[in-house]
Symmetry: C2
Amino acid sequence: MKKSPFAPKRAAKMPPINGVELAVTEAGIKYKLRTDLLLAKFTPDTVVAGCLTKSKTASGAVEWCRNNLKSGKQARALIVNSGNANAFTGAAGEKSVVNIGATVATTLGCEPGEVYQSSTGVIGEPLPVKEVLGGIETCAGQMGEGTYQTAANAIMTTDTFPKFTSRNCQIEGETITLNGIAKGSGMIAPDMATMLAYLFTDMPISQPILQKLVSKAVEASFNSITVDSDTSTSDTVLVFATGKAAISPVVDEKDVRLRPFKSMLNRVMKELALLIVKDGEGISKFVTIRVKGAKGKRAAKRIALSIANSPLVKTAIAGEDPNWGRIVMAVGKAGEAADRDLLNIWMGGHLVTQNGGRVPDYNEAPIAEHMKGETIIIEVDIGLGRGKAEVWTCDLTHEYISINADYRS
Amino acid sequence: MKKSPFAPKRAAKMPPINGVELAVTEAGIKYKLRTDLLLAKFTPDTVVAGCLTKSKTASGAVEWCRNNLKSGKQARALIVNSGNANAFTGAAGEKSVVNIGATVATTLGCEPGEVYQSSTGVIGEPLPVKEVLGGIETCAGQMGEGTYQTAANAIMTTDTFPKFTSRNCQIEGETITLNGIAKGSGMIAPDMATMLAYLFTDMPISQPILQKLVSKAVEASFNSITVDSDTSTSDTVLVFATGKAAISPVVDEKDVRLRPFKSMLNRVMKELALLIVKDGEGISKFVTIRVKGAKGKRAAKRIALSIANSPLVKTAIAGEDPNWGRIVMAVGKAGEAADRDLLNIWMGGHLVTQNGGRVPDYNEAPIAEHMKGETIIIEVDIGLGRGKAEVWTCDLTHEYISINADYRS
């Protein structure tokens, strides 16, 4: 597969996080000569919060994580394999999930309820459990030798580049670090996108507060991206906080020390989400869609996603065609209040549509020029209210068809 | 554009309908050497019923028809142009609609409120009104010389074959005929699909009863097809009943004479809807999706459409890949009640997935064989209730991208 033109030119530096140890291996689950298993070990009292797919046919690993999250217990381990999603594999699949959870717990000396797990890759094929169990042993033997870069590599499927980023903030003179890794390039849509993202921080913070921040941050990041409107059965975002930074823990929502942490969390989640879109299957253009003037925030987001998910809008962008009529069509089908005669549309900052019609002095040259670029910006003013939203997507290309018409073979 | 492999091998015979006269011409709206204008003239007291797009940014012609339908008045004329949708053309577009309605009324000697109109083609470009008005005059001069076949030709845009069908039934020894023509190949999705369909019958029937039958028939035909999940701004289904057949009019819903008429109406609508899917942009496979065992009828339809609209399912079909995992994914994202472990899936009549997992004695050979065919059948049993639905779609191919990435040029 061709590498996405949007792969970062320069890799982010990934400092260690106190309380997190990583290991990866080539377990041989599906791919050859490629790492496909990540095992992370967390210090006692690590707090975890997360968001999981809303799919009604979620995979066993997702249900496992959902149950563990509910318990509110500490997290001591994370295991992720690529190459096989262990989804829709019936009773055998369920058994593997339990087996993997128990094996990690025994190997690292913790409870199964403290182990988090994900599987990503082809669905409907039996998971080669023996390989996974072998990989767990190998990883345990080299615990701490992995890096966030190698971890990001090990969880890739059709991704064309590994996704990782790191930010830090200062709280009471201490440096708090937040590292994130992610994967996902197709089957990306809210809620959630088909994707896995794991964040690791040394922030001392209580579980309920972390969960609240995470749920909010996901809305404006992973739930604001779409590649093909398909929702995966395995989507998982987990944030692990070891609490090892030398400040007293945040246990109150109104604690002012939350502010820098919150911005950092939002920023890292958005960076990871954009990396996922930028590796959208077959992407040739990265598209930002901003909607304002909708009746409310929710309406704005639905309209923005309707534009972002429209195959006709996406193919027009692939064809570098400033076909604003299709944008109006997508606004109309969103099901939210809209008045054709109040609509204004900008492409690349140029006003194209005014009050529902083409601007009188329409000059396609600068807009056509914008469409030839790699970064497309579409702005829509619904003209009815104050609701705003921003979502990110990519175009729909021949390459997407090629990748997905022949994924299994 | 390559002709769809699903174009009918043999054209339906289209008898005349007493009270309907047709004319077509090459008005030169966009295409060259191709008819692009249809004018139909109806006898006095012709009853009309219809369904129009639910798009919030509907075109002026759709709003015109909606107003006229509401009045419950007779219909005396229908004018349809292809090549330009006259949508999002601002005040000038609105003016054209009024202008066209008035010109047809004057030319044929009726009220503007008795004229129905549609425009289909590119959106956002000004409609060349002069050409349309010239075409009206030409058509009026040769009224009655058109046929249903030439009418179906004149309303085509990216269609690769004209769509028309005819059925009849016997009521009190009289033959009642129902002719239908339609167009539409992309931007097809409920509600409604991007499509135009006009039906003509000599059935004597009251307007409210006809409207009731039409609304119901549309649900199981035009609202059960999808090509690309995009909803057009111009979708229109209109049924014109001249009442010229020699039976007394049906004015009571419980009239037993409605039964054969209703079956005929349902059948013709379904035939036209399937012709539209069979000309889906870039189609290489015609796909039937049947869902049963859902919590209700509405849930079954949402699940069926979720499968039918999934780009990942559609590309897998294009790639002849029996990737049932993606079907489970699409069931999961529909948002309706589903239990992974109760799901059964058949492809081409072969049980593939049982209780959420691959059948124990899975043999891909016959299923792979089925996927190589042109007609794909996917059946899903949700296992929860008695809700059933059937929808029709096509695969998502390179050809679809080629057509839509470069439609305007």
